[in-house]
C-alpha cells in the first residue's frame, strides 16, 4: 500500500547531524483531534504527506471510555478509537518524538532529538495536562497519589484496586464523580472531597447539584463539601491517609486527583511568532491560530463561545472530533467543509442510575431570560429561554433525552414555542419535531417557489398523530391558507430582503433529509424550481439568528455566513474589527466559492 514517496518521509535517524525532513501536513499529538484531522486530510488529499509527531506511547484511544476501562467493562484493545492499523492503511506516518519549538517564519518544527521537520500546514493538537494537586501539599509524592488523566494512570489504578479498601477522590467536576462511581462499583469505601458548596457550581444549580449528590450518597459515597486536602500522610512511602482542611483525618490507601485540566499551550509559547493564547490557543471558527499556516484543535484550542463571547477550550470528546475533522479539511485547503459551526457546549453522561445532560447556558442569571424548572417523574429539568428560543437546557433523570437534538435546537435557534412543555417534562420527541419543521419548510418552499423563511418562523402544527387521509386534507387546506396569507401585501414588505438573499437560495433543509427514511419524500422533480443547482448540503444557509445570546453580546454572525455578509455591507468597520485577531486571513469570506462545493460533503458518510 505504501508507495515510494511515502518511504522517503521518515528516513532512519542520523545521529549527531541535524537533518531536515519535510511533510505537507504535520500534526502534533495523536489524540482524537490529531488522528481525526489526519484521516480527514488523507480522505480529501490522497497525495499529501501526512505526519503525526507524538510522544504518546499508545495509539489513539477513546478517552471518555477510560471510565468504563477503570471498571473492567472494556479491555485495552477495545479502547482504540480507530481500528488497529488505521494509520498504516491511511499512510499516516507517526514519528515518536516531542516537538520543542515552532519556527513559524521558516515553517519547520524542532523535535526533541534536534531534528528539524518542515511543514506546509501545522496542527497543534497537544491536548491538555491535568492540574493535579497543588505543589505545596505535603505528601503529594507518596505512592498511591494518582492524577487520573492518561491511559497509564488508569492502568496504574487498575493494578492497585486489589489492595484498596478506602479511597479519596478530589475534585468537583464530572471527571471526579465518574471516578467516584467507578470506585463504588468495586465496593471501595469512597470519600469525595469537593472544594465548593455544590457540585459543578458553574453548570448545575443548587437543586440539581443536590439531586446528583444525593444520588452519589445513595450509591454509598461519603461526600465532603467545602473540603480540601491539607496534607497526605504516608507510611514507609505509601499513602496511609489524608488530612483535610476541616482537621479531619481520613484513612485511605489511594488518593485520586480529578481536579480538572489545563490546555497544554507550551508550544504556543515556544513559537517564534507570538501566538495568541490564554486558557488555550485561541482559534477562529475555522481553527486558525493567530499564526499563518498553524491550526489548533482539541483540548488545546480555545474557541469563542457563541453565547458568552469568551474564548474557552472545550475539553470534550465530541468537540475534539468535530474540530479534528474541520482542521483536517482546512489543512488541505478545503475551507468550504469547515462551515459547520461548533455551537454551544454540550455534555451528557450517566452517573450510575442518573442521566445528566447540560446544553448551553442553563444557569445564566441574565434578567432577560425566562427560567422554567420541572421536577416531575423524579427528575429535574431546567430550561433558560430567551423570547421563544432555548438558551440552556439541563436535565437529570432516569432517561437521557435526545441530547444532540436539543443542542441543535439551541444552535439553530429554532422556536420552541410549541414544545416548551414537552421539553420541560422531558418527553420531547425531537426527531419528529425537527423533521416536521423541515417538511413544513420544504412544503412552503415548493409552494411559494422561493427561499423559505427561516425555520423559526415556520408554523409548526402540532403533529404527534399518525397521518390519515382526512387529516392530510386538513393540513393541505391549512397550508393553502398559509400560502394565501404569505402572498398577502404584508409579505411584500419583506421583498427587498428576499431579493437580496435570492442568489443564495438554497434548500431550507439538507438534501439528505429528502429520503424515504425521514419521511420527507417529495415525489416531484426539483429541477424545475431552481435551475441554479444549489441544492447543496447547505447546512441551512438561510439567514438565521445565531444562538440566543445573553447581553452584552450581540447575536453573533455564525462563522461569517450570510449574517456576516449583510453586516459587512452595513458596518464594514465592525466586521473588520471582529477579524483583527486573524489579520492575515483573507478578509473576503469564502462564501461564494465554498457553497457550491459543499455538495461534496454529502459524500462523506
Amino acid at each position: 500500500m505504501n508507495n515510494e514517496s511515502d518511504k522517503k518521509i521518515v528516513p532512519g535517524q542520523q545521529k549527531g547531524k541535524p537533518t531536515h525532513d519535510q511533510a505537507d501536513i504535520v500534526i502534533i499529538g495523536n489524540g482524537i483531534a490529531g488522528l481525526t484531522a489526519a484521516v480527514e486530510a488523507r480522505r480529501l488529499a490522497p497525495e499529501k504527506r501526512i505526519v503525526i509527531v507524538t510522544d504518546q506511547i499508545h495509539p489513539t484511544i477513546n478517552t471518555p471510555a477510560l471510565k468504563q476501562f477503570a471498571i473492567a467493562k472494556l479491555t485495552r484493545e477495545q479502547l482504540l478509537a480507530y481500528p488497529a492499523g488505521t494509520e498504516r492503511a491511511e499512510r499516516i506516518h507517526v514519528v515518536s518524538s516531542r516537538v520543542t519549538e515552532i519556527h513559524a517564519q521558516s515553517k519547520y518544527v524542532t523535535l526533541s532529538n534536534k531534528r528539524g521537520f518542515g511543514y506546509e500546514s501545522l496542527l497543534i493538537a497537544t491536548g491538555s495536562t491535568p492540574q493535579g494537586l497543588p505543589e505545596n501539599i505535603p505528601g503529594r509524592n507518596f505512592d498511591g497519589v494518582l492524577t487520573l488523566h492518561r491511559l497509564q494512570d488508569y492502568l496504574d489504578l487498575r493494578r492497585r484496586l486489589g489492595e484498596v479498601n478506602e479511597a479519596i477522590v478530589i475534585g468537583g467536576g464530572v471527571h471526579a464523580i465518574e471516578t467516584v462511581m467507578g470506585l463504588l462499583y468495586w465496593g471501595i469505601r469512597t470519600h469525595w472531597l469537593i472544594r465548593g458548596k455544590t457540585f459543578m457550581g458553574r453548570v448545575l444549580d443548587d437543586p440539581a447539584s443536590e439531586i446528583v449528590l444525593n444520588n452519589v450518597r445513595r450509591a454509598g459515597a461519603i461526600v465532603h463539601l467545602e473540603t480540601e486536602v491539607a496534607g497526605i500522610i504516608g507510611r514507609v512511602g505509601a499513602v496511609a491517609g489524608a488530612i483535610t482542611n476541616q482537621q479531619e483525618m481520613i484513612p485511605c490507601q489511594i488518593v485520586l486527583s480529578c481536579t480538572g485540566t489545563r490546555a497544554a499551550t507550551s508550544l504556543a509559547r515556544s513559537c517564534t511568532v507570538p501566538m495568541m493564547h490564554k486558557n488555550g490557543i485561541m482559534v477562529d471558527d475555522k481553527l486558525r491560530t493567530s499564526v499563518r499556516g498553524i491550526y489548533a484543535a482539541g483540548d488545546v484550542a480555545a474557541l469563542k463561545n457563541p453565547q458568552t463571547g469568551n474564548y474557552e477550550p472545550r475539553a470534550q470528546w465530541y468537540a475534539a472530533v468535530a474540530q479534528g475533522r474541520i482542521a483536517g479539511s482546512m489543512m488541505v485547503g478545503h475551507s468550504e467543509l469547515a462551515m459547520q459551526p461548533f455551537g454551544v457546549p454540550w455534555h451528557a453522561t450517566h452517573l450510575g442510575e442518573l442521566s445528566m445532560l447540560t446544553v448551553g447556558e442553563p444557569i445564566s442569571s441574565d434578567p432577560r431570560l425566562t427560567t422554567l424548572t420541572d421536577t416531575s417523574q423524579g427528575g429535574y429539568r431546567r430550561m433558560s429561554i430567551l423570547e421563544d428560543r432555548l438558551v440552556g437546557y439541563l436535565s437529570l433523570g432516569s432517561s437521557q433525552p435526545d441530547s444532540l437534538a436539543i443542542k441543535r435546537l439551541i444552535d439553530e435557534a429554532v422556536s420552541i414555542k410549541d414544545v416548551t412543555r414537552s421539553l420541560l417534562k422531558g418527553q420531547f420527541d425531537s426527531r419528529s419535531y425537527l423533521s416536521n419543521q423541515r417538511s413544513h419548510a420544504a412544503r412552503n418552499m415548493l409552494l411559494l417557489n422561493q427561499p423559505a423563511a427561516p425555520l423559526k418562523r415556520e408554523e409548526a402544527t402540532p403533529t404527534r398523530k399518525l397521518p390519515n387521509t382526512g387529516e392530510l386534507r386538513q393540513v393541505a387546506a391549512q397550508s393553502q391558507t398559509n400560502y394565501v396569507a404569505a402572498s398577502h401585501p404584508n409579505h411584500q414588505l419583506n421583498e427587498p430582503q428576499t431579493d437580496q438573499l435570492a442568489p443564495m437560495a438554497v434548500m431550507p433543509f439538507d438534501i439528505d433529509e429528502i429520503n424515504p427514511f425521514s419521511g420527507n419524500l417529495p415525489d416531484v422533480s426539483f429541477s424545475g424550481l431552481d435551475g441554479t443547482g444549489l441544492y447543496s448540503q447547505g447546512k441551512f444557509m438561510q439567514p438565521r439568528p445565531g444562538p440566543a445570546t445573553p447581553p452584552p453580546m450581540q447575536p453573533q454572525p455564525r462563522s461569517g455566513l450570510i449574517n456576516g455578509r449583510t453586516e459587512q455591507k452595513a458596518t464594514p468597520n465592525k466586521k473588520e474589527a471582529s477579524y483583527k485577531l486573524w489579520a492575515y486571513v483573507n478578509a473576503e469570506p469564502e462564501d461564494n466559492t465554498g457553497r457550491r462545493q459543499n455538495i461534496h460533503e454529502g459524500e462523506r458518510y
Binding site: 437521557q400 441530547s403 444532540l404 429520503n515 419524500l521 448540503q537 462523506r604
Partner: protein, 102 residues
C-alpha cells in the same frame, strides 16, 4: 400539488448528517454492544463506527447489521444519549446499497 409531500410522515430514521454527528459524538464506551441481544460475535465499536460512516463493510459487521432487528436496547444505556438504532439502520442502508453495486 399539495399531496406531493407527506406532512405527517412517520419518522423512522435520523438523516445522514445527523447520523454522522452521532457517530462523532460516540465515546466508544461499548455500552450499546453490551446491551445488544443480536450481536453474536465480537464487534468492536471502532470498527462499527468507522464502517457505518464510510468505506467497505467487513463480514462480521455486515452479519451484525443483518442480525440487528432494531429493538432499541442500545439506546437507553448510551451515556451520551445517542441513537445506535438509527446508526444501525443507516448501516443497513449502506449495506443494501453496496450490495446493489456489486
Amino acid at each position: 400539488m399539495l399531496r406531493m409531500l407527506k406532512p405527517n410522515a412517520i419518522i423512522l430514521h435520523k438523516t445522514r448528517p445527523q447520523v454522522g454527528q452521532e457517530i462523532q459524538a460516540c465515546i466508544g464506551c461499548n455500552e450499546c454492544i453490551l446491551a445488544c441481544p443480536a450481536v453474536a460475535e465480537p464487534i468492536t465499536i471502532d470498527m462499527l463506527n468507522r464502517e457505518t460512516l464510510s468505506g467497505s463493510i467487513s463480514a462480521p459487521i455486515a452479519r451484525f447489521a443483518r442480525a440487528c432487528y432494531q429493538c432499541g436496547a442500545c439506546v437507553a444505556p448510551c451515556p451520551v444519549g445517542l441513537h445506535r438504532d438509527a446508526m444501525m439502520l443507516w448501516l443497513k442502508v449502506r449495506l443494501l446499497s453496496m450490495g446493489a453495486e456489486e
